[in-house]
Symmetry: C2
Subunit: 384 residues, 2 copies
């Protein structure tokens, strides 16, 4: 699956064996990462970025790979995450297919891809792997951990499991645990992949590939990553020109919004490994910081998840300053989850602020609404 | 497909041929309906109910069928739609499989089910068929048309195409046209059915049935019919007991919310015809009252759909009084669409009120939140 990995990617070997939280272990596993800027003499200017489900470690252009990255507008000289000042590390998640070890990687014990023999993956495993990268780079204390979406979950886990490893934290559209609407969406995405006969219990290849299942999963993803408000303004009820329609198909694409989803899906289905998708998706459903910190599961009863257990878990995190940014139109990681993060970190002694943004782009706003996200992140980092 | 039809259902034959808005015609078509209460001597106490996509005409128990109906709490003696006063008619939509003619019905020209040979179905066709039922029952002027969800679309079309046929209107979680988020959801539901190899271009039977596609479509439906807020309180992160889990399936059901979706899907997949589902779903995407009233399509440009054309179309409707009820947590027919209906009808001279409700149950609230919907509907009808 090396075709998924950007050129210039670097690697840190994980300890072997690397023990997984839910049992099992990995041997000869490694984490893909990239860096920007220069680590200063005190090693005090390092920032770690933890990503959402699908991005690779190539967040922005750098010397090893001048191609634009997925956060190009946010990261670079003079940009909100200013690499003239900061040494920035972005890691590809454990379990992904973009260079780090995951279900699509070769199991050294068998010489064949792990597929479903990969051990159960949790957000905590990804956090532990990222912490190993930080230490391997000689960094004893990060200036900041920035986590987006799934990376916002991983960042909280990272902070909880590695006291003192970071001075501050920016949580962007993240959550301290998964809520049932988001679980339902992800469960349905996984079901779409698993129902595709070509998924074949994880034993597909390029010629027999669960393309339909991945397309459905991605379309459902995009629907929940954006917002109805944005689409009203962007697509309205505009129809495709007749030359872009298949008149033979009575239920074929007709509206611009359908074509937009189809385009997103086509670009995605062959660029992300389906088994990796299943593993990472499930890890988000499982994530619950209250459980993670050794307390009882946060929500044995419905509704309890909003309450004290998660806040108590957050309050066990020690950082000096924190910023939790959310977006009012986000239906997947709704605004109250970022407010909860700020509340919990504040209860733990941090100077923690909650910043709700009015971006119309929903959960994905941090990938597109740089007019709002740029100043917010810049302001926080400038004050460090 | 008679197994879908409740006992006691009655029928009105449509004119033969019955011409369809988008072309084609039906021969020997009929509409299933049920009634409650007694038509008074002046024939002035009749109320018509138009339903959402899936319900049959059995809205409540009656002499012909004492089983509870899908709106049992709202309809009956002394209930919000009080059958001691009102003569109530509920029709099953044209294109459905619950008694009215639809893609699952026998085409008299061939003796076989229509399947995809059924002509293109629009919301307007359903409205025309419902108007024919009303007139066939000897009703010249309805006291009120009540439309829920898709029935709210059909009701607006009914009123526009049949001036003078109703004195008043209650629109519940309806819309004057489909917006792109809802189109995207429905498009994905249809794609799930069409991707199921057993759909077979509409040529399935009981033994080879697109069960997986229907299950996916229904689950996605339920996700968008309810709300994240309701599910936070109802399910939280509660997991299934171990005896309700399949330990052999690494991606099987684990959380209560997944089991809830699975239960809903299982009850639905064999109780609604997949081709009928496709036709009715597509008719909602097509619906645009501005287009329907002969104006140019309301939204040639993105965003235009919010603007003047739809309001102008609504303002061409003549009713004395109207109530548009919406729910703040509805993501499928969002609140601004009911506000738009009230605004447009008011511009047309109606005494029209917009009533936003705080129900947590989303689009489906009118089927469950009787504490809010009961008094709202009762109050409107009492004042007629």
């Amino acid at each position: 699956m090396t075709e998924f990995v950007p050129p210039g990617t670097r690697y840190v070997d994980l300890p072997s064996p690397f023990r997984m939280k839910r049992g099992g272990e990995l041997r000869k596993a490694r984490i893909a990462y990239e860096t920007w800027g220069t680590l200063d003499a005190t090693r005090g200017n390092a920032i770690l970025i933890l990503t959402g489900l699908s991005p690779d470690a190539h967040a922005a252009a750098n010397a090893a790979n001048p191609a634009p990255g997925w956060w190009e507008a946010m990261l670079g000289p003079g940009k909100p995450i200013d690499t003239d000042r900061w040494f920035v590390v972005c890691v590809n998640s454990l379990g992904s297919c973009k260079g780090s070890t995951g279900p699509a990687s070769i199991d050294p014990a068998t010489g064949a891809p792990y597929r479903l023999a990969f051990p159960e993956l949790s957000v905590e495993d990804g956090a532990d792997a990222a912490a190993h990268v930080v230490r391997a780079l000689g960094i004893e204390r990060l200036a900041c951990v920035i986590g987006n979406s799934m990376g916002g979950m991983a960042a909280l886990s990272f902070l909880l499991r590695n006291p003192g490893l970071a001075r501050s934290h920016v949580n962007i559209s993240g959550a301290a645990h998964a809520l049932p609407f988001s679980i339902a969406i992800r469960s349905l995405q996984r079901e779409a992949i698993r129902l595709d006969p070509r998924w074949n219990d994880g034993n597909y290849d390029e010629a027999h590939y669960p393309e339909s299942g991945m397309r459905m999963a991605r379309k459902l993803g995009v629907i929940t990553y954006r917002s109805a408000l944005e689409w009203d303004g962007r697509f309205g009820r505009v129809r495709l020109d007749s030359d872009r329609r298949d008149d033979e198909d009575p239920f074929g694409l007709e509206f611009e919004v359908e074509s937009y989803l189809e385009g997103h899906a086509r670009r995605f289905v062959r660029s992300f490994d389906p088994n990796c998708y299943l593993y990472l998706s499930r890890s988000m459903d499982w994530f619950d910081l209250a459980e993670s910190c050794g307390a009882a599961p946060s929500a044995r009863a419905p509704g309890a998840g909003h309450g004290g257990d998660v806040l108590q878990a957050l309050a066990r995190i020690r950082v000096e300053r924190a910023l939790a940014i959310g977006v009012a139109t986000d239906i997947l990681f709704p605004l109250q989850q970022q407010e909860q993060i700020a509340d919990g970190l504040r209860a733990g002694g941090a100077d923690a602020r909650f910043l709700p943004l009015e971006s119309p782009q929903g959960h994905d706003a941090f990938l597109v609404d740089f007019a709002r996200f740029g100043p917010a992140v810049r302001g926080f980092l400038d004050a460090l």
